[in-house]
Amino acid sequence: MEYTPPPFFKRGPSLLTRFAFFSMASVVVLVADARFNYLESMRRVVAVVVYPLQQVSALPGRAWDWMSDLALTHSRLLLEHEQMRAQGLRDAAGLQTQLALSAENEQLRQLLGMRQRVPREFLAADILYAPRDPFTRRVLIDKGSQDAILAGLAVVDRTGVVGQVTRVFPWASEVTLITDKEHAVPIQVLRSGLRGVTFGVGYDGTLELRFMPVNADIQSGDMLVTSGIDGTYPPGLPVAVVTNIERNAAYAFARITCTPAAGVNSHGQVLIVGTDPRHPDNPVAADEATAVKPRPARKATR
């Protein structure tokens, strides 16, 4: 039983008033966030408050991992060790030829007077969890601004491009996957050198290669790698494999669907690719200089 004064004495604002107030507040927050991106700092503050709770809620999963680590059998470990050793040997052979090739490549580039390729830094991170939001394709990783992660960095895994860092919190950051709707990755067809852009369609396992003419030199099974002209993704990383091409002369472009090369859902570790310090800034200053001029004229006409 509750001992509050009878409701007809003190009721506070009516239900409808309270509802109207809080839904208006939500709408204001929504518009400020979605339209103007004003609330990123507020989001960061809430993220710091929520972070310990996220750590607590991750405990059962960690305990489970720890238990299954304990329960590993000796024979299984031996087998895995054997497999790793064989893999290492194969990788070493590949790397040796790659070293020679990259040295040769550098020399050729020097002879031709082209810009040298800069080796980029890689930082390993664990995938914490995939948020519950069914509208987007994202994952959270356990490195944040404390580890000098910046928004916009590319994220790759063992087999290909995973996505891009879109939001950075102090101890975690949010990676938007390449399968997220309208997420674009500039690519190049490995076989023909043709350049294009893939777009995510909003569900797992499919990418679309848009704006390719019907007669473009592209085949089913072609490997698509990053072209590197965006300055975000380093060139030559596998993005997807072409699975289906519909060439219909009634449309200007062919419908090309691809399967992403990276297995984001199958393993828990990713690599964050550092920026290329020598990539030139995007040319925006010139536009600003010309955009300033017409303003006084507009004022005068009002």
Partner: protein, 179 residues
């Protein structure tokens, strides 16, 4: 006749006199619900996971009206938005609508037996999800398919369990009939 008996028994159970809920206990249940919402799960479980915060809020509003206000619900919504990486304010708006519906219907819900209550809860949870869907559609996202509403159905099915679990510590320990 049997059915009538069971309905009456259920109504008696929901009308039993409980010890007053302390603010600390209410806060603890809401915190636990937030933790359950944040628990990392494999993909298939993720699509089915009900909104535990919504369920807990509905319980408190229906059975202990005027103990949980709009403000804690709204703040929990903001926390969920940050954890989910969704639009800031989306869950907050959904929880405001959920609170409004639950307060509006609370006198009605307690009149019904458990099975009919489940239907009411389903409507409230689905309305909250529909608000979020509307916000996302306006923001330019696509409808993710009918499975989007699965959490509401699972949540409604879990309502009797939630009801019994939350009021477990509130039951008076001494049996009044034993005197």
């Amino acid at each position: 006749m049997m059915r009538l008996h069971s309905v009456i028994a259920e109504q008696e159970r929901s009308a039993e006199i409980l010890r007053p809920a302390r603010g600390f206990y209410i806060g603890a249940t809401l915190m636990l619900a937030l933790l359950l919402n944040l628990l990392p799960l494999p993909d298939f479980a993720q699509t089915l996971r009900p909104d535990f915060i919504g369920l807990t809020l509905i319980y408190w509003v229906v059975y202990h009206p005027r103990r949980v206000g709009f403000l804690p619900a709204w703040l929990l919504g903001l926390a969920m938005d940050v954890a989910d990486g969704s639009l800031f304010g989306q869950h907050a708006l959904a929880y405001a609508c959920l609170m409004y519906l639950a307060i509006l219907l609370h006198r009605r819900i307690v009149m019904f037996g458990m099975r009919q209550q489940v239907l009411h809860i389903l409507v409230i949870l689905a309305a909250a999800q529909a608000v979020m869907l509307l916000v996302r559609l306006i923001a330019g996202f696509d409808f993710p398919g009918p499975l989007y509403f699965a959490p509401s159905i699972v949540g409604a099915i879990l309502w009797p369990a939630t009801f019994n679990l939350i009021r477990l510590p509130l039951r008076s320990r001494a049996d009044p009939d034993a005197v």
